[in-house]
Symmetry: C2
Subunit: 422 residues, 2 copies
C-alpha cells in the first residue's frame, strides 16, 4: 500500500517552522510497512491544494494531510478535501459539544468561527482531539483513503498514535507488529556486525537506525493478525537480548536514555551529581528532562574554569599543572571530588575540548575524558569526537549517560557475583 503526505501551511512554505510532522508521519508509515514516495508542502490556497490532492489520489492509496484545520477562514484543508471527494458537510453535535467543553474547561471565550470545526464531511470517521478543538477526519472513497490531521505537533502526534496507527494497521492486508530495541555504548557498524545474519531475514525484518550516541534496532513482523506477528518478533528480540546483553537499555519506545539512567539509579537507591566542564550544563539539563529526577539528583557543578575545578571539586593544583585540565587524571579527581563534596553515591565528570579553539596537536579539538565514580570505584574513558562544537558536546553528553549506566551495572554485578557486599 502506498501512502503520500501533504503538509498544508504557509508558515512551512515561508520557512518559519521546520516540518517535524512530516518526519514523524513518514517514520510511523515506514514502521507500518507502507511505502511513501512523495511528501509535498503547499500553502493555504484552495486551487493549489486541490491540484496537489488530485495528483496524490492518482498515484497513492492513502493520503495524509496535516494542517489547515483551524477555525480561521485561512484554514481550508477540510473544505477542499471534501470538495475534491465530492462530500457534503454536516454539523456534528458531539463535536460541537466537545469544542464547547474544551473552551469551558480552560475558561476561554468561545467565538463563532470555532463552530466551523464541528462541520464534518458526510460518512467520515471523526477522530476526537484531546489536545485541541480541530477533530481529525478519515474519508474513504472506493480504494482511496484521505486522512486529515491537525497541524500542531502536540495534537497530531497523540491523535496518530491513539487512532490512526491502528486504523492503518487494520487497513493493510497483513498486520504489522514492530518492536524497538534501544542500544547505547556501541557503534552502528559494531551492532550491525553482531546481527547481520538476522538482517537478512524477510519476516521479521531487522533495521538499524543511528541516533546520537545510540543505535535503535527495529524488528518488524508481518502476519495475518497481531498475535501471529508478535509471535514472530518475540524470538528475534530475545535473540538480540542474548547477543547484545546489557548494552540494550530499553525495549520501550517511549523511554529515553536519560530516563533509563535515572530509573536505574532510583531502583538501586543511588543519589548522583554531575561535574561538567566542556558540556557546560548540558549533561545535567538532559538528566533534569526526567520528571521526578529530584529523588536522586543532588546537584550539578559546572566547573568551567580551573579555579572552579579546584574550589568546588578539590582537583589538585599539581594535577592541573602536570596533566592539564583535559586529562584522565583531572577527570578522575573531578569524579572523586564530586561524590565527596556533595555526599552523592555517583558522580559523572566531563572534561574536554569542544572547540573551535583550544586544540593542540597533542590534545586536539574533540578530545574528551569522562569519569564515573560509583561508590568509590572510578572508571575513566577517553573519547575522540568529530564535528563542530555543538556536535562534540552532544556526543559527550550521550557518552556520559552511557558510561553512567554501564558503570552502575558493572558495580552491582561485582557486588552480586564478586565481593558479595556493598
Amino acid at each position: 500500500m502506498v501512502v503520500e503526505l501533504i503538509s498544508v501551511g504557509t508558515e512551512i512554505l515561508l520557512g518559519n517552522i521546520v516540518n517535524t510532522n512530516a518526519a514523524f508521519l513518514a517514520e510511523q508509515c515506514a514502521y507500518l510497512g507502507l511505502s511513501c514516495f512523495y511528501q509535498t508542502t503547499v500553502g493555504d490556497n484552495e486551487e493549489r491544494l486541490a491540484e496537489t490532492l488530485h495528483t496524490a489520489l492518482k498515484r497513492s492509496d492513502v493520503i495524509i494531510l496535516s494542517g489547515g484545520l483551524g477555525p480561521t477562514r485561512d484554514d481550508l484543508t477540510k473544505e477542499v478535501a471534501a470538495k475534491v471527494l465530492g462530500k457534503s458537510m454536516y454539523m456534528d453535535e458531539k463535536q460541537k459539544e466537545s469544542i464547547k467543553t474544551f473552551f469551558e474547561k480552560r475558561g476561554l471565550p468561545l467565538t463563532d468561527n470555532n463552530w466551523k470545526q464541528a462541520l464534518i464531511p458526510e460518512g467520515a470517521i471523526i477522530l476526537y482531539n484531546d489536545n485541541g478543538t480541530a477533530p481529525g477526519i478519515i474519508m474513504e472513497e472506493g480504494e482511496k483513503t484521505v486522512i486529515l490531521l491537525p497541524g500542531p505537533p502536540n495534537e497530531l502526534l497523540p491523535m496518530f498514535k491513539k487512532d490512526v496507527y491502528d486504523y492503518l494497521n487494520r487497513k493493510t492486508p497483513n498486520t504489522i507488529s514492530s518492536q524497538v530495541v534501544k542500544i547505547c555504548g556501541m557503534g552502528e557498524s559494531q551492532v550491525e556486525d553482531m546481527v547481520k545474519d538476522l538482517m537478512e531475514n524477510d519476516n521479521p525484518t531487522l533495521a538499524p537506525y543511528a541516533k546520537t550516541g545510540e543505535v535503535h534496532l527495529r524488528v518488524t513482523a508481518m502476519a495475518e493478525n497481531d498475535k501471529e506477528a508478535k509471535k514472530l518478533t518475540k524470538p528475534v528480540v530475545k535473540e538480540l537480548k542474548s547477543r547484545i546483553g546489557s548494552y540494550i537499555y530499553t525495549t520501550n519506545p517511549d523511554v529515553t536514555l536519560e530516563e533509563a539512567v535515572v530509573d536505574l539509579l532510583d531502583k538501586n537507591h543511588l543519589t548522583f551529581c554531575t561535574a561538567e566542564s566542556c558540556t557546560g550544563g548540558m549533561l545535567a539539563a538532559r538528566l533534569v528532562n526526567v520528571p521526578g529526577v529530584s529523588e536522586v539528583f543532588k546537584e550539578g557543578m559546572i566547573t568551567y574554569s580551573n579555579k572552579a575545578k579546584r574550589n568546588r571539586l578539590g582537583v589538585k593544583k599539581g594535577t592541573l599543572a602536570k596533566y592539564g585540565a583535559v586529562s584522565e587524571q583531572v577527570a578522575k579527581e573531578m569524579a572523586k571530588g564530586g561524590c565527596f563534596f556533595t555526599k552523592s553515591d555517583v558522580c559523572v565528570a566531563v572534561t574536554g575540548i569542544a572547540g573551535p579553539d583550544g586544540g593542540t596537536e597533542e590534545k586536539p579539538v574533540g578530545l574528551v575524558y569522562i569519569a564515573c565514580n560509583v561508590c568509590g570505584k572510578v572508571t575513566v574513558k577517553e573519547y575522540h569526537f568529530s564535528g563542530n562544537r555543538a556536535k562534540i558536546r552532544e556526543n559527550t553528553v550521550s557518552s556520559a549517560l552511557t558510561l553512567m549506566r554501564l558503570c552502575v551495572l558493572e558495580y552491582f554485578s561485582e557486588i552480586t557475583f564478586g565481593k558479595k557486599e556493598k
Copy 2:
C-alpha cells in the same frame, strides 16, 4: 519570480531525518522576495525525480534541488537533472583537483567512485564546496534555472550563503536588501503594537517573527540596486531603534541572544556565574554555546535540592521554610550567594516549577522566579509560563538571558548618569 524546492533523499521519505534544509531554503527565498508555492520530497529514484522536476519546471522559475549529489550509485540528482535539461556532462579538472586536495588534507583514502563528483553538466556554473566533495551546480535553460545543492546542512547552508543568495538576488529584476532586528524582553503583540504603522508600508516591508522568548523584525526593501535598497531600509531600522531602544539586542543576523549577553559582559569586564534549579543546567549550557565564554564564565551551580541551595549558595533554612524553594526571596538569596561564593560580578538565579508534578493552586506549574545580581544590585522577576516541562524550561532560559542583559545595561546607565562611579 517563483521558486520551488525539491528535497531528494530516501532518509527523508522514511522519516529518519527531519528536513531542516527545506525550512532554511524557504526562509532565505522569502527574504529574497521570491514566492514559494510548493516543496516536494522524493527518494533517490530516477523516474519519480525526473517527473517531479518536469512538473516543477512547468510551474516555477527557479528549482532548488538538495541532496543526492554524493559519490555512490544511489546519488543521481545531477544525472537526472542534466538529462531532463538535455545537458551532457564533462569531467572538470579544477573540481577533480579540489576533491583530491580534500582527501589529502584529511588523510583519507580516495576511492574511484569519488570522481563522479567532478562530472559537470555542460555550461553549468560550479559552486565549489568548502565543506565536502560534492560541488553545487547552477544550470540555466531559457527562462528557467535549476540549482543543485549537497544534502548535508553543514555543506548546504554555507554554500547557499556564500554563492546562491547573491546569485538569486542578481537574478530578480529588483534587488532585495533585508535587515533583521532582534528583540528580547517584549512579546510579539507588544512589538507589533509599537510598529504597526510601519508594517503597513509596501517598501520596505516590515514583518515580525516570533521565536522562543524573542521577536525578530525583518525589514525588506526592493530597489534597482543594493545601494538604493539599503537606502530604504536604513531609516526604518533607525526608527525601530529609536522606538524599541535597548530591547534590541542585535541587528546582526548571525548573533544569538547568548552571544550578545556574553559580549556585553566581556566588554564591561564582568565575570558571571549561574545558579539554576528547574532549568537544571540548560541556562549555563546555552551560555557555554558561545566559544570563548571561558573569559567571563566562572562556574555554574545546579542546586536542584534545597540542601544544595543552602550548602552551595547560602540560602537560609528559614527563607526556604517560610517562603518555599520557588519564591522571590529564595531566588534573591540564590543570586546573592552565587556572586559571594564564586566571587563573580554577576549571578543569574532561577527557581521554578517546570512540572508535570509539583504544582499547587497557589504555586502552579509554570511559575518561575528569576533573579539577577549585578555587582550587588539584585533584581527579581516573576514569570508564568505555559506549555509542557520542556517548553517552560526553554522559556525560562530565554527570559533569564534577557533579564541578565537588561540588568547589566541598567546597572551601567545608573553608573554613567547617576552615581558616576562603579
